[in-house]
């Protein structure tokens, strides 16, 4: 066992820390879910890209620096500790990119990766449909073959499309085999949201801002070179994404560590805080630290060539519960000021609202518990 950080990693950490200290906006950017905020976040991503920090784990030819998982964890710790903005390109770089690097053609990589990394093209996800939420395999939006035009024609509807209100492109699953059911006959498609026949209806979330959108398709044409992976193989392509969504790369420990540290600061400067909320704050910090160690261990074993699997559902259960508890404790410390939407502490309320979505999206925690019970513990299906 050895937890000492190699000198070159320490050097990387110091380099990242210095750059962030010099570049992270002093004032928090306006909300990502407003037009201005979206634009401001695009600019920030571009600055990160130019400095080589937008996608550290990607190959250099696409704007990355070929860093490994450990350096990525280091980067994330420093990024959130420095108060870096939410990543507007998150859907693309963390959800789509892993699938792209798995199955995309050279041409597709050359076409899409750099604009994705520079946030010139921001991606929205197209998973859920009105009747396919937790039950994703119930997807009905269809893509019909248009042989003459050499592509597919989409009809149907997606919903809960994060970033959908302002994004440029969408990736999602569509039923290319009308005879098929459940996980079969689905294909993974990429399409611009300004294509003919696409209608985007923003959905206002709890805070009143359009955090996601409904997207309607009326005979939307998608050429063959915007099919990701094999026709009909969409489900397996998507799974590599949703696994990484629940697994390592979307919910990096750095974010919760930073929030837990801020929670302890808030606790220290809250005289007369109730004994229980102080205890809950320490619990939350404990669990943020446990999450860091768990993900570190997973990353080290992955680097060691071991197979990573069951971790993802346990991960999602743990971080989504943790995120709610961190912010719930903070609001309780704020007492009567908890519901204020302006002032230095209002970020806690935003964070709480954001955290409440955690146990719901990317597979509700009820579904995740079923997955752990059935696939990890081997209990019989209901």
């Amino acid at each position: 066992m050895d937890l000492t950080e190699a000198p070159e990693r320490e050097a990387f950490r110091a380099e990242v820390r210095d750059w962030l200290a010099a570049n992270v906006p002093a004032e928090p950017l306006p909300s990502l879910d407003t037009a201005d905020g979206f634009a401001a976040h695009r600019d920030w991503e571009r600055r990160m890209y130019d400095a080589g920090y937008a996608v550290v784990t990607w190959p250099e030819r696409y704007g990355g620096r070929g860093a490994d998982l450990l350096d990525w964890l280091t980067f994330e710790e420093e990024y959130w500790a420095a108060g870096g903005p939410v990543r507007v390109s998150q859907n693309g770089i963390f959800l789509l990119a892993p699938a792209m690097f798995e199955v995309a053609t050279e041409a597709q990589l050359d076409r899409f990766m750099v604009p994705m990394a520079r946030a010139d093209e921001v991606w929205a996800q197209g998973w859920s449909e009105p009747d396919a939420g937790s039950d994703l395999a119930a997807l009905r939006s269809r893509a019909d073959r248009d042989e003459s035009a050499g592509g597919w024609r989409l009809n149907g509807q997606k919903t809960w499309s994060t970033r959908g209100a302002f994004a440029d492109w969408m990736f999602g699953l569509f039923r290319t085999d009308p005879e098929s059911s459940r996980h079969h006959g689905l294909t993974y498609l990429l399409l611009p949201l300004d294509a003919d026949g696409v209608t985007v209806r923003p959905i206002r979330q709890l805070d009143g801002e359009p955090g996601f959108a409904e997207v309607f398709f009326d005979d939307v044409f998608v050429p063959d070179d915007q099919v990701l992976g094999e026709v009909g193989q969409g489900w397996s392509v998507a799974m590599s994404t949703t696994t990484s969504e629940r697994g390592l790369t979307l919910r990096s420990p750095g974010r919760f560590l930073a929030a837990a540290d801020r929670l302890l600061d808030l606790t220290r400067r809250t005289p007369g805080a109730s004994a229980r909320v102080v205890d809950d704050a320490v619990d939350a910090w404990f669990d943020a630290e446990a999450y860091r160690l768990y993900v570190l261990d997973t990353a080290l074993r992955a680097l060691d060539g071991q197979q990573i699997g069951a971790e993802s559902s346990a991960n999602k259960l743990f971080w989504s519960d943790l995120d709610v508890r961190i912010h719930d404790a903070a609001l309780r410390l704020l007492g009567p000021a908890a519901t204020l939407t302006e002032g230095s502490d209002a970020a806690w309320l935003d964070g709480y609202l954001f955290s409440l979505a955690g146990p719901i999206y990317a597979g509700t925690n009820e579904i995740q518990r079923n997955v752990v019970a059935e696939r990890v513990l081997g209990l019989p299906r209901g």
């Binding site: 206002r204 007492g335 719901i360 009820e366």
Partner: protein, 338 residues
């Protein structure tokens, strides 16, 4: 043989049903949404209608044209206000009426009739500046200052709206202009605080029941994996736990109202117990409602968010759920007898 009764009196219950009927039309979801998107968060004309029905004067003594009810009779009315997520300063004004009734004197003579008539909204706070619910709407402020209570008219105070995620509580930062207002002789601010805590606890119970009802209704119709999500044990058990928590908070609130009305020695402990039990139940109901509703509950288009945000307001105002537990703990662990 027994005349004991833990439920409110029949006439009080009957009156609360009438209030529910009024609010089910005048404060239905569309009206509520309009109020939230409106200028001041209130429902135009509703305060006057409540006054005409006699609601604003319920605790005002009969000699001031009120009904002279005590807190035990008010609990079901406040519960209806919570159930409807009513965006009006009912608890604040009623608490003020109770305080002025207790103190008597010229302020009472002047303001109690106006309260009964629905011509005055009163808000309460502690210290200066104070974060005051209903402060945006109040004509009069009763502000705890040390051991006494100070009366401030709108002119005596600087009232600055405090932007809240819940526009329906009219939150404001109220600062007394130096030396303005005067102290009311013999006003028991501590008793009024406990009175308000029990009133808010009643509102929280109503909120919890409303959120439970919405969640159960949704779980019966929303289908996933080919059946209603309400047929899954994971959903059933979460909702059953909310029902239990809410059911056991109700008698605690009734008993606290009795203790406050009778100025029992356990008044403050019982009031804190009520605010804690109701706050805990409502918070659990809110979390469960959101989880059961899933994505749809996370949208502004769905009505649920107004109940969630009212819950967040009321669990953090008038002493947070944690704060009341701490107060009760001090009272319980220092005095030897129950």
């Amino acid at each position: 043989m027994t005349t004991m009764r833990l439920q409110p009196d029949e006439d009080a219950l009957a009156f609360s049903v009438a209030v529910r009927d009024l609010l089910s039309q005048a404060c239905d979801a569309p009206a509520l949404r309009a109020a939230w998107d409106g200028r001041d968060g209130r429902i135009p004309g509703l305060w006057k209608r409540l006054a005409e029905m006699g609601v604003t004067g319920l605790v005002v003594p009969e000699k001031y044209d009120g009904a002279g009810l005590d807190l035990t009779g008010m609990v079901p009315v406040f519960a209806e206000a919570g159930r409807a997520a009513l965006p009006e300063p009912l608890v604040e004004t009623a608490t003020a009426a109770a305080l002025l009734t207790q103190a008597g004197g010229p302020t009472a003579d002047e303001w109690l009739p106006r309260i009964a008539a629905g011509d005055a909204v009163v808000a309460l706070g502690d210290g200066s500046p104070a974060l005051v619910t209903g402060g945006q709407w109040a004509d009069l402020f009763l502000i705890g200052a040390g051991s006494g209570v100070r009366v401030l008219t709108r002119d005596d105070a600087n009232v600055e709206p405090a932007p809240s995620i819940d526009p329906g509580v009219g939150l404001a930062r109220v600062t007394a202009t130096d030396g303005a207002g005067r102290v009311i002789d013999g006003a028991d601010g501590a008793a009024a605080f406990d009175w308000a805590c029990v009133a808010v606890a009643a509102e929280l119970v109503g909120l919890a029941q409303a959120m439970l009802d919405r969640s159960v209704a949704y779980a019966k119709v929303r289908e996933q994996f080919g059946k209603p999500i309400g047929s899954f044990q994971a959903v059933k058990h979460q909702l059953a736990d909310v029902f239990v928590a809410t059911s056991f908070a109700v008698p605690v609130v009734h008993r606290a109202a009795w203790s406050v009305a009778r100025a029992a020695p356990t008044r403050s402990r019982d009031a804190s117990h009520a605010k804690h039990a109701a706050g805990r139940a409502a918070a659990q109901a809110a979390r469960t409602a959101l989880q059961v509703h899933g994505g749809i509950g996370y949208t502004y288009e769905n009505d649920l968010h107004m109940w969630l945000k009212r819950t967040w307001s009321l669990t953090s105002q008038w002493g947070s759920t944690d704060w009341h537990k701490d107060r009760a703990a001090r009272l319980l662990l220092t005095d030897e007898e129950r």
